[in-house]
Protein backbone atom coordinates (compact mmCIF):
# COMPACT_ATOMS: atom_id res chain seq x y z
CA UNK A 1 0.00 0.00 0.00
CA UNK A 2 1.63 3.28 -1.09
CA UNK A 3 2.12 6.10 1.37
CA UNK A 4 3.54 9.62 1.50
CA UNK A 5 5.03 11.26 4.60
CA UNK A 6 4.58 14.97 4.96
CA UNK A 7 5.40 17.65 7.51
CA UNK A 8 2.79 20.28 8.27
CA UNK A 9 4.40 23.69 7.80
CA UNK A 10 1.39 25.99 7.96
CA UNK A 11 1.59 27.98 11.24
CA UNK A 12 -2.03 27.07 12.02
CA UNK A 13 -1.58 23.36 11.42
CA UNK A 14 -4.10 21.53 9.27
CA UNK A 15 -7.02 23.79 10.07
CA UNK A 16 -10.65 23.70 8.99
CA UNK A 17 -10.45 25.12 5.48
CA UNK A 18 -7.53 23.08 4.15
CA UNK A 19 -8.91 20.03 5.95
CA UNK A 20 -12.26 20.50 4.21
CA UNK A 21 -10.57 20.95 0.81
CA UNK A 22 -8.62 17.79 1.52
CA UNK A 23 -11.76 15.79 2.36
CA UNK A 24 -13.44 17.02 -0.81
CA UNK A 25 -10.40 16.07 -2.89
CA UNK A 26 -10.08 12.65 -1.24
CA UNK A 27 -13.71 11.85 -1.94
CA UNK A 28 -13.04 12.01 -5.68
CA UNK A 29 -11.00 8.78 -5.49
CA UNK A 30 -12.27 5.23 -5.18
CA UNK A 31 -9.39 4.14 -2.96
CA UNK A 32 -9.65 3.97 0.80
CA UNK A 33 -7.50 6.90 1.93
CA UNK A 34 -6.29 7.41 5.46
CA UNK A 35 -4.25 10.03 7.23
CA UNK A 36 -2.05 8.94 10.11
CA UNK A 37 -0.84 11.27 12.80
CA UNK A 38 0.63 10.75 16.23
CA UNK A 39 -0.24 7.06 16.35
CA UNK A 40 -3.81 7.55 15.24
CA UNK A 41 -5.49 7.16 11.88
CA UNK A 42 -8.47 8.94 10.32
CA UNK A 43 -10.58 8.31 7.25
CA UNK A 44 -9.52 11.06 4.86
CA UNK A 45 -13.07 11.31 3.52
CA UNK A 46 -14.48 12.42 6.88
CA UNK A 47 -13.87 15.98 8.10
CA UNK A 48 -14.73 15.10 11.67
CA UNK A 49 -12.22 12.26 11.72
CA UNK A 50 -9.57 14.52 10.22
CA UNK A 51 -10.17 17.46 12.57
CA UNK A 52 -10.25 15.01 15.46
CA UNK A 53 -6.56 14.30 14.82
CA UNK A 54 -5.83 17.93 15.87
CA UNK A 55 -2.88 18.15 13.50
CA UNK A 56 -0.53 20.90 14.65
CA UNK A 57 2.25 22.76 12.84
CA UNK A 58 5.67 21.11 12.50
CA UNK A 59 4.23 17.65 13.02
CA UNK A 60 4.32 14.77 10.60
CA UNK A 61 1.43 13.11 8.81
CA UNK A 62 1.36 10.05 6.59
CA UNK A 63 -1.14 9.59 3.81
CA UNK A 64 -1.95 6.04 2.78
CA UNK A 65 -4.16 4.86 -0.04
CA UNK A 66 -5.50 1.42 -0.79
CA UNK A 67 -7.36 0.79 -4.02
CA UNK A 68 -7.33 1.00 -7.79
CA UNK A 69 -6.33 4.67 -7.95
CA UNK A 70 -4.08 4.73 -4.88
CA UNK A 71 -0.96 6.21 -6.50
CA UNK A 72 -2.90 8.83 -8.38
CA UNK A 73 -4.81 9.73 -5.21
CA UNK A 74 -1.66 10.23 -3.13
CA UNK A 75 -0.05 12.43 -5.76
CA UNK A 76 -3.18 14.56 -6.09
CA UNK A 77 -3.76 14.82 -2.35
CA UNK A 78 -0.18 15.79 -1.57
CA UNK A 79 -0.56 18.53 -4.20
CA UNK A 80 -3.88 19.56 -2.63
CA UNK A 81 -2.16 20.08 0.71
CA UNK A 82 0.45 22.40 -0.78
CA UNK A 83 1.29 24.94 0.64
CA UNK A 84 0.35 23.60 4.06
CA UNK A 85 2.88 20.74 4.02
CA UNK A 86 6.39 19.88 2.88
CA UNK A 87 7.95 16.50 2.18
CA UNK A 88 9.03 14.89 5.45
CA UNK A 89 12.67 14.02 6.11
CA UNK A 90 13.40 10.49 4.90
CA UNK A 91 12.99 7.97 7.70
CA UNK A 92 16.30 7.31 9.35
Amino acid sequence: MPDIRLTVIDPSGLHARPAARFVQAASRFASRIAIQHDGREADAKSLIALLGLTIRPSTEITLTADGPDADEALTALAAELTPYVAAAEPAG
Binding site: A16, R17, A20, V23, Q24, S27, D38, K45, S46, L47, I48, L51, G52, T54, R56
Partner: protein, 134 residues
Protein backbone atom coordinates in the same frame (compact mmCIF):
# COMPACT_ATOMS: atom_id res chain seq x y z
CA UNK B 1 -29.38 17.96 0.25
CA UNK B 2 -29.55 21.29 2.03
CA UNK B 3 -29.02 22.68 5.51
CA UNK B 4 -31.43 24.83 7.51
CA UNK B 5 -29.82 26.80 10.35
CA UNK B 6 -31.97 28.16 13.14
CA UNK B 7 -30.82 30.51 15.87
CA UNK B 8 -32.22 33.09 18.24
CA UNK B 9 -29.86 35.53 16.49
CA UNK B 10 -30.06 36.50 12.85
CA UNK B 11 -26.46 37.71 13.00
CA UNK B 12 -25.33 34.35 14.31
CA UNK B 13 -26.86 32.34 11.45
CA UNK B 14 -25.69 34.85 8.84
CA UNK B 15 -22.15 34.61 10.17
CA UNK B 16 -22.43 30.85 10.29
CA UNK B 17 -23.63 30.76 6.71
CA UNK B 18 -20.48 32.68 5.71
CA UNK B 19 -18.29 30.22 7.60
CA UNK B 20 -20.03 27.24 6.04
CA UNK B 21 -19.58 28.68 2.54
CA UNK B 22 -15.93 29.36 3.11
CA UNK B 23 -15.12 25.94 4.56
CA UNK B 24 -17.42 23.70 2.52
CA UNK B 25 -17.85 25.78 -0.63
CA UNK B 26 -20.96 27.23 -2.21
CA UNK B 27 -22.49 24.02 -3.58
CA UNK B 28 -24.50 23.04 -0.50
CA UNK B 29 -27.69 25.10 -0.15
CA UNK B 30 -27.95 26.78 3.25
CA UNK B 31 -31.14 28.50 4.42
CA UNK B 32 -31.31 30.42 7.67
CA UNK B 33 -33.94 31.53 10.17
CA UNK B 34 -32.66 33.79 12.94
CA UNK B 35 -34.32 36.26 15.25
CA UNK B 36 -37.94 37.34 15.42
CA UNK B 37 -39.86 38.99 12.57
CA UNK B 38 -39.29 42.41 14.22
CA UNK B 39 -35.55 41.89 14.53
CA UNK B 40 -35.26 40.89 18.17
CA UNK B 41 -33.51 37.84 19.58
CA UNK B 42 -35.83 34.87 19.37
CA UNK B 43 -37.17 32.39 16.87
CA UNK B 44 -40.06 32.60 14.45
CA UNK B 45 -42.04 29.58 13.25
CA UNK B 46 -43.01 31.28 9.96
CA UNK B 47 -39.36 32.15 9.24
CA UNK B 48 -38.32 28.59 10.00
CA UNK B 49 -41.07 27.21 7.81
CA UNK B 50 -39.99 29.52 4.97
CA UNK B 51 -36.37 28.42 5.31
CA UNK B 52 -37.32 24.74 5.21
CA UNK B 53 -39.64 25.25 2.24
CA UNK B 54 -37.01 27.21 0.31
CA UNK B 55 -34.60 24.29 0.80
CA UNK B 56 -37.09 21.60 -0.22
CA UNK B 57 -38.44 23.63 -3.15
CA UNK B 58 -34.96 24.69 -4.23
CA UNK B 59 -33.97 21.27 -5.51
CA UNK B 60 -32.62 19.58 -2.37
CA UNK B 61 -33.93 16.03 -1.82
CA UNK B 62 -33.65 16.39 1.96
CA UNK B 63 -33.05 19.07 4.54
CA UNK B 64 -30.98 18.69 7.70
CA UNK B 65 -32.09 21.20 10.34
CA UNK B 66 -29.72 22.43 13.04
CA UNK B 67 -30.87 24.70 15.85
CA UNK B 68 -29.39 26.49 18.82
CA UNK B 69 -31.41 25.93 21.99
CA UNK B 70 -34.49 26.45 24.08
CA UNK B 71 -37.58 27.67 22.27
CA UNK B 72 -35.97 27.17 18.87
CA UNK B 73 -37.20 23.58 19.18
CA UNK B 74 -40.76 24.72 19.89
CA UNK B 75 -40.78 27.11 16.94
CA UNK B 76 -39.39 24.33 14.76
CA UNK B 77 -42.17 21.98 15.84
CA UNK B 78 -44.77 24.60 14.94
CA UNK B 79 -43.12 25.12 11.56
CA UNK B 80 -43.06 21.38 10.84
CA UNK B 81 -46.78 21.12 11.58
CA UNK B 82 -47.38 23.36 8.57
CA UNK B 83 -45.67 20.93 6.19
CA UNK B 84 -47.55 18.13 4.50
CA UNK B 85 -46.47 14.58 5.30
CA UNK B 86 -44.37 14.12 2.17
CA UNK B 87 -42.36 17.26 2.84
CA UNK B 88 -42.08 16.49 6.55
CA UNK B 89 -40.53 13.12 5.64
CA UNK B 90 -37.73 14.94 3.81
CA UNK B 91 -36.71 16.91 6.92
CA UNK B 92 -34.23 15.54 9.46
CA UNK B 93 -33.64 17.31 12.78
CA UNK B 94 -30.12 17.28 14.20
CA UNK B 95 -29.20 17.32 17.88
CA UNK B 96 -25.74 18.56 16.92
CA UNK B 97 -24.18 21.77 18.27
CA UNK B 98 -25.15 24.43 15.73
CA UNK B 99 -21.82 25.93 14.66
CA UNK B 100 -19.60 22.87 14.55
CA UNK B 101 -22.41 20.63 13.33
CA UNK B 102 -23.29 22.91 10.42
CA UNK B 103 -19.72 23.03 9.16
CA UNK B 104 -19.11 19.29 9.47
CA UNK B 105 -22.46 18.51 7.86
CA UNK B 106 -21.85 20.90 4.99
CA UNK B 107 -18.47 19.39 4.16
CA UNK B 108 -19.90 15.85 4.10
CA UNK B 109 -22.84 17.08 2.02
CA UNK B 110 -20.42 18.76 -0.40
CA UNK B 111 -18.88 15.39 -1.26
CA UNK B 112 -22.27 13.93 -2.08
CA UNK B 113 -22.72 11.95 1.14
CA UNK B 114 -26.17 10.55 2.03
CA UNK B 115 -28.35 12.32 4.57
CA UNK B 116 -27.54 9.55 7.06
CA UNK B 117 -23.81 10.24 6.69
CA UNK B 118 -24.32 14.00 6.79
CA UNK B 119 -26.44 13.74 9.94
CA UNK B 120 -23.85 11.45 11.52
CA UNK B 121 -21.08 13.94 10.72
CA UNK B 122 -23.07 16.68 12.42
CA UNK B 123 -23.70 14.47 15.47
CA UNK B 124 -19.99 13.83 15.75
CA UNK B 125 -19.48 17.53 16.44
CA UNK B 126 -20.69 17.01 20.01
CA UNK B 127 -17.68 14.90 20.90
CA UNK B 128 -15.07 16.16 18.43
CA UNK B 129 -11.65 16.86 19.86
CA UNK B 130 -10.63 20.49 19.56
CA UNK B 131 -7.41 20.52 21.54
CA UNK B 132 -4.51 18.12 20.96
CA UNK B 133 -4.39 15.06 23.17
CA UNK B 134 -2.41 15.75 26.33
Amino acid sequence: MGLVLISHSGKLVEGLREMVAQVAGEDVPVATAGGTSDGRLGTSAPQIEAAIRSTLDGGADDALVLLDLGSAALSLELALEELDEADRARVRISEAPLVEGAILAAVQASIGASIDDVAAAADGAATMAKLPRA
